[in-house]
């Protein structure tokens, strides 16, 4: 029971991060391997405002989100645009964007280490436990989960009930056809990329309330987000949420029952199963 609830709480935050990556890869077609670094940046912003100004991490989200949106928009416009223009095909763009985002991620880690040092950072925010069905759970995990659920819900509504959201989904399905019906594909892609980065950074702020992070941990979260997106199916909101919960549960189960040092191995086990049996995603239709 403990495992179930802790796993779901963790999975909720994972869902938010993976949703960010899903927007970037599924819509903007950029395989962003600097995603984890954006998460660490969001975490660091929350840490900094909390220790320096006693601002609650939940309030910090209010400025982390627009700031990350802006930063990612600029990254897309200035750094990634030349690659998109240069690429002859999707495969070429994939290789280029993988290398370029790696470069960005590494440069970012380097800057973080140079300015703030390589130490772990954590702070104590609402660490008190509360009782749910006979067991205690830390309040900060529950708040992070609630915030993730609210944000995911808003995103879902926006994607499925608004005009720009529909445009985003159209580009995800087929960029060429979206262009034909009068959607500015590049603008929508930039929007999706920026929104995705913003979601990831917010996920980072939330995670920092209950996990200890350091400047170079980003790649681990990139890995998890990628596994979730592949498991859930690229561009599939519902699939990503289910996949995030599965990963959260599996990691928690392995950490509690076997060894906390094996969480990545657990993620890999799931990854291999997905690759062998459902490479098109949990709810995806097999391609011929």
């Amino acid at each position: 029971m403990d495992i179930l609830i802790t796993g779901i709480l963790l999975g909720g935050t994972y869902a938010l991060i993976a949703m960010g990556l899903n927007l970037q890869y599924g819509v903007a077609r950029i395989m962003n391997l600097a995603n984890g670094e954006m998460l660490v940046a969001g975490a660091f912003a929350a840490f900094w405002t909390y220790t320096a100004g006693q601002v609650s991490p939940i309030l910090a989200i209010l400025f982390v989100a627009p700031l990350a949106f802006l930063v990612n928009w600029i990254i897309y416009r200035i750094i990634l645009m030349p690659l998109i223009k240069r690429a002859k095909n999707q495969g070429q763009l994939e290789v280029d964007s993988i290398l370029a985002t790696f470069g960005m991620g590494f440069a970012f880690v380097g800057i973080m280490v140079a300015t703030f040092g390589a130490e772990y950072f954590s702070y104590d925010y609402l660490g008190d436990g509360i009782l749910i069905i006979g067991s205690t759970f830390a309040l900060n995990r529950i708040i992070a989960f609630a915030a993730a659920v609210i944000i995911c819900g808003l995103l879902y509504l926006w994607l499925y009930w608004s005009r720009p959201g529909t445009a985003v989904r159209a580009v995800a399905v087929n960029p060429q056809a979206a262009g034909l019906v009068g959607i500015n594909v590049l603008r929508v892609s930039a929007l999706a990329f920026a929104l995705g980065g913003s979601l990831t950074a917010v996920g980072g702020s939330l995670i920092s309330t209950f996990l200890t992070l350091d400047a170079s941990i980003g790649v681990l979260f990139t890995m998890k987000a990628l596994i979730i997106v592949i498991m859930g199916g690229v561009g599939d909101v519902r699939g990503v949420i289910v996949a995030a919960l599965i990963l959260g549960l599996a990691e928690t189960a392995v950490a509690t029952l076997i060894d906390p040092g094996l969480t990545l191995a657990a993620a890999y086990l799931i990854f291999i199963l997905v690759l062998l049996f459902r490479p098109q995603g949990l709810f995806g239709k097999p391609t011929s």
Binding site: A100, I230, L262
Partner: protein, 309 residues
């Protein structure tokens, strides 16, 4: 053999002969850098054997390398070193085959993602096994091998990799790889078993990387999983190979030598900035020399000849 090939072979043999003389300089610092350069030459050349024609970016080098190192470290007390080398090579090939079977049948992205976390995942597994099977985390590799020996071994392996690369380039497999790299659908329609070809080539690459790890184990003397599975190694190898260029067999060589020296300087003077340098190197490669220095030079050369006529 055409006269051109004979000439290339003679030049290559002479260069190898010259490189083999380095330990006689007696200068420990040069020999040490020589070992590092030889290591990166083997790793990035074998990396380019697979990733060059397929454009699949493998980030698994550290995983294979660490596997080889750990096999030697675990078995050195019980089994002769030469046997361990063989075991490492086989283990590297088997692991590459397994990774290939899981991912290479699908699109390239899955492969990149899978290899990205592979070294870290195996490190976790090895640490866990060591903790639970009563082994100690730190292992000692005590042999009579000196840096000079390691250098010559690596040089021999480099020669072997170049020969294999040359042979693959002429073989049916190499031809198949070039078609796959240009257009995988076309390759499949020509009747090429694309997955099998890719897996075979990845096995060669994995085998060599595991062997390099095994050869370098005696250099460190004290080994634990955190040392064996160095996360940055995979990225350094990718940068060096891409910097040089992967179209030619000797392309990576052009990237390895300057970049190894740069890394040495950075590590000696600004140890915490290595990762920043790697990041900048990635960006510079993507934006300025997407086909490597060799590709860029060949382009300029072709343009110059065109302009001359």
């Amino acid at each position: 053999m055409t006269s051109r090939e004979t000439r290339t072979l003679v030049i290559a043999v002479i260069l190898f002969g010259l490189a083999a003389l380095l330990p006689f300089s007696g200068n420990g610092y040069y020999i040490s850098i020589g070992v590092t350069i030889a290591m990166y030459v083997v790793l990035s050349t074998s990396w380019a054997l697979f990733s060059g024609p397929t454009h699949y970016i493998s980030l698994a080098t550290a995983a294979f390398y660490g596997l080889g190192t750990m096999i030697v470290a675990t078995g050195i007390e019980m089994v002769p070193y030469v046997v361990l080398l063989l075991i490492s090579a086989v283990a590297g090939a088997v692991m590459a085959a397994l990774v290939g079977l899981a991912t290479l049948r699908l699109s390239g992205v899955y492969f990149v993602i899978f290899t990205l976390g592979l070294a870290e995942m195996i490190r976790q597994l090895v640490s866990w096994l060591q903790n639970n099977l009563g082994g100690s985390r730190g292992l000692y590799v005590l042999t009579d091998l000196t840096e000079e020996h390691i250098y010559w071994e690596l040089l021999a392996l480099a020669g072997f990799v170049f020969l294999i690369g040359w042979w693959i380039g002429r073989s049916r497999l190499g031809f198949a790889m070039r078609i796959i790299g240009n257009d995988e659908t076309v390759a499949a329609h020509c009747g090429i078993n694309t997955a099998r070809s890719k897996i075979l080539l990845f096995m060669v690459s994995g085998m060599v990387a595991a062997l390099v790890g095994a050869l370098l184990a005696p250099r460190w003397t004290y080994i634990e999983p955190n040392i064996a599975f160095s996360p940055l190694l995979s990225f350094e190898v990718v940068i060096m190979a891409l910097l040089g260029g992967t179209k030619r067999l000797w392309g990576p060589l052009v990237g390895v030598i300057p970049f190894t020296i740069l890394l040495e300087v950075i590590e000696a003077n600004y140890p915490s900035q290595t990762i920043l340098v790697l990041g900048i190197a990635f960006l510079l490669i993507v934006y300025l020399v997407p086909h490597g220095v060799v590709g860029r030079l060949e382009q300029s050369f072709a343009k110059f000849r065109k302009g001359g006529n």
